[in-house]
Subunit: 283 residues, 4 copies
């Protein structure tokens, strides 16, 4: 049985939940999950609604049209409808560090990530072996100082050809241009090896050591044109001490990076994240 | 403006959310929070629905009757309707340890707990000063080995006279009889200074030291006739090490006890907990 | 039996531990705790050494002189010797928020903080009742825009008269001038309601909400002339979500603030912190 | 430059640290890490001492003999001396679940685990591919109901032939007999997918769901003849909720299992764990 998931947001007013849940019930669906949030400060309404398409339900093809009619009543409503199948097509971009990539591939193999991992793109060749083991196509797209634009265009072409829904930057150490970020708005997830907003930019662990902090963290966020400033999806932190030298911070950081990235990717794939301005609602 | 909160559960079927949210919309309410859960294994539906009673809304007096009509359609539905005002009446029972009591009184003073703390009952006199400072009536009810039944009857009488909705056992070191626990089913919260189900019973920190555990925890649960076996509301854990002697474990335990107890009390007061069998749904 | 604690640091070289532990053994002491750290990057040695003064031990009066002789062998050694009694004299400075002050007073009452709390200074009168309950002298020193310097001088006078060893800023919402911070170098602890270095300055919870972070934290640090830049003693973090409005962040923040502040104060009182540049070694 | 690490324990008395650090200094070593613990309740002394063998130091061959002379002064002293090279030889035993094995192999590849992973033994063939990718010999030793003793004998033979120092049970779902556990006392680490002592035995996640707990954990411990009762090395916990079905608990459990197991293995390989009775001192 297929499952439909609706993510929607609009100005808060009376009757939205009733209208949407009535819509599902009327067309033979059975709600399996509903999560709703009202931002009182900004007077905005957010909802995630998931339902099973029963045997007598409206066909998949007809649901979007019917939904559009309902949404019309709430003039400013933004909505997105997804189905459990076919699964989303995911590409992972990486450089040389294997930990995040290996973690995602292993989780996928164990059935934790509801998607197809269609492609891995890397600017170095180190990770091709790992991809071969997990039977995922690996494509090297080297990036040189002068050839940055060409490399980005090549990567965009590969992603387009593979009809990629979600791009995961698994410690891909290159800044993406606006041509890239605009092409997958709300569809590129990066892992930043620090709490944002602290320690923006490179070498955060060296910065952390210098400042003598007692916890370090990691942040998974959507990528926007502005570096490290996109909406945060997930964050976590772990204690560190004076005993941790830079290599220990990096090692501990790897642990938390892969955990936070995997959590964010999973939330996205389950259609649990709504972007609102520069923040996220995570159901 | 008053707020109504509905907690309900029933066998899962199609149309429940639509019926209940339609009910709210029809009578002029505006939903401010809806949280729903379907237990697929047990095929049970749970929901928490909170709405503002608008100016044109059905009057408070008429809502229960109208709700009863809706609930009838779902024959096995259990529901409980609460209003933000008047606030719930809470009694705290304690013995000699001040940390949980002081924490609850301070949080109440700072506006974190939406309730009236009407009464403190203790089997010792140590905490009367603390209650005087926070201007809460303190009642000593000594418990002797032979006089246990009388003491319990006296406490029950005091709680009844004060029309208490919720009894919080803040390190009250006495076991309650079935006469007590039956009188406030789902209305007595205890803090157990351990992870349940590990280290049931007395001296859990000594047990923890003996076993050489590396984390300790605390559990807040509803009290049932069976000691330490009631539905768990909240739990948390913190790391410990070989350096922690029993007194350190006790000190660290105090921190986590008061935090977990306060969290559980707050969840209960906000009508976020549904008891289902021996487990809880915490919205 | 009295306990001596030595904190020392110097350039790393061979034989330091042997010399210092030999010193203790020779004079009849029994080591109860030794913690040592070598910063390989900076080639610095740090140690905390605690020992019981046995009956046949060198007298308290003679230990500093003997220790000075040992330290001489290691020309750049910085050391500080403390005894368990008499206990350190602590003043707490606060404004209107009671949570950190109440927490410290309660912990002191329960025996968690090895010190005398001699004095509370506040720029408002709200907390005098709380101090009376815990039987701690309360002194109001109002701060006006023009009278800032006089107020600070008055506070310094009170602290000097009371021979205060440690000043704890328990949500004292005033910036201290260099006359103050120089007078108690390494002897003023502040709680900052945020992870440093993120969200420096005022209204960190509003900043956190605006940025949409998924964790918030608190930082206890020594106060230096530069605002919020002093050496960090303790930090911790807790998860938050889109459901948390500013008042929820503030409430959750209070929990973590008092926990982190109490931890830092305790570490300081147990002579577990060595300041090294702008960082701390916490044994 | 080679590093020596001494782990020792004995009855507490005066002069032990001085004697041991003097020993190191005398023979030209430079202490890089010293951690000491006194269990006042049991009057026992524990220490970990690590030092660099300088150019003029006593040769590796002569250190044990010299050390034995020192230890003689403290009649009940138990000690173990290790050198950084050659690295310890590790075997991993697994069944079908890849997450712990893959995690250990990946960490080893990234240089986080100071050892040689010499051999993987599994009772099923599923993980042979993974081992091939990481270039670690894989040996299948099937276990049947009747052939348990033979299988165990075969595994012991393989481990002996490979001169294995440490056996890691990475979700190896077979109970080991006393012949096995006696052969590697303090040299077999298991990951138990639960907090011990709660939920001993099989299907702990089903037990956890049934009891409605709000946190789940994992425990890494040394294996002794008594199932799941050996000394605990590391534990950790994560929050769960009513939304987590058994498969979610298992998924979350996998995360914490591999993290806790890797931490315990690393602590063991760095000679940071002393077993004392049924508890551990973890430096």
């Amino acid at each position: 049985m297929d499952t439909a998931t609706l993510l929607c947001s609009c100005e808060d007013r009376s009757g939205i939940v009733a209208a949407l849940t009535h819509f599902v019930a009327e067309y033979g669906g059975n709600i399996i999950d509903l999560d709703q949030h009202t931002d009182r400060r900004e007077k905005k309404f957010f909802m995630r609604l998931a339902w099973d398409l029963g045997p007598s339900a409206l066909s998949r093809e007809d649901i979007p049209g019917a939904m559009a009619l309902v949404a019309k009543k709430f003039t400013d409503m933004k909505w997105r409808l997804s189905f459990a199948s076919p699964r989303q097509r995911v590409a992972i971009m990486a450089s040389t560090a294997p930990h995040c990539l290996a973690d995602l591939l292993l989780r996928h193999q164990m059935g934790e990530l509801p998607c197809e991992i269609v492609l891995v793109i890397a600017n170095h060749g180190d990770l091709s072996d790992l991809c071969r083991h997990f039977r995922v196509p690996f494509q090297r797209v080297p990036v040189t100082r002068e050839g940055r634009a060409e490399a980005e265009a090549e990567a965009i072409g590969l992603l387009r050809d593979a009809r990629i829904d979600l791009v995961v930057l698994a410690r891909y150490m290159q800044v993406l241009g606006p041509g890239f970020t605009d092409g997958w708005r709300g569809g590129i997830i990066n892992i930043h090896h620090s709490f944002l907003p602290a320690f923006v930019g490179a070498k955060p662990y060296h910065q952390a050591l210098e400042r003598g902090v007692k916890i370090i963290g990691a942040t998974a966020h959507y990528v926007t044109a502005e570096l490290d400033q996109g909406p945060i999806i997930a964050q976590d932190a772990i204690p560190v001490s004076h005993r941790d030298e830079v290599e220990d911070l990096i090692r501990k950081g790897r642990d938390i990076e892969r955990r936070v990235l995997a959590a964010a990717v999973r939330l996205h794939l389950e259609h649990r994240v709504i972007i609102s301005g520069n923040r996220t609602i995570v159901f």
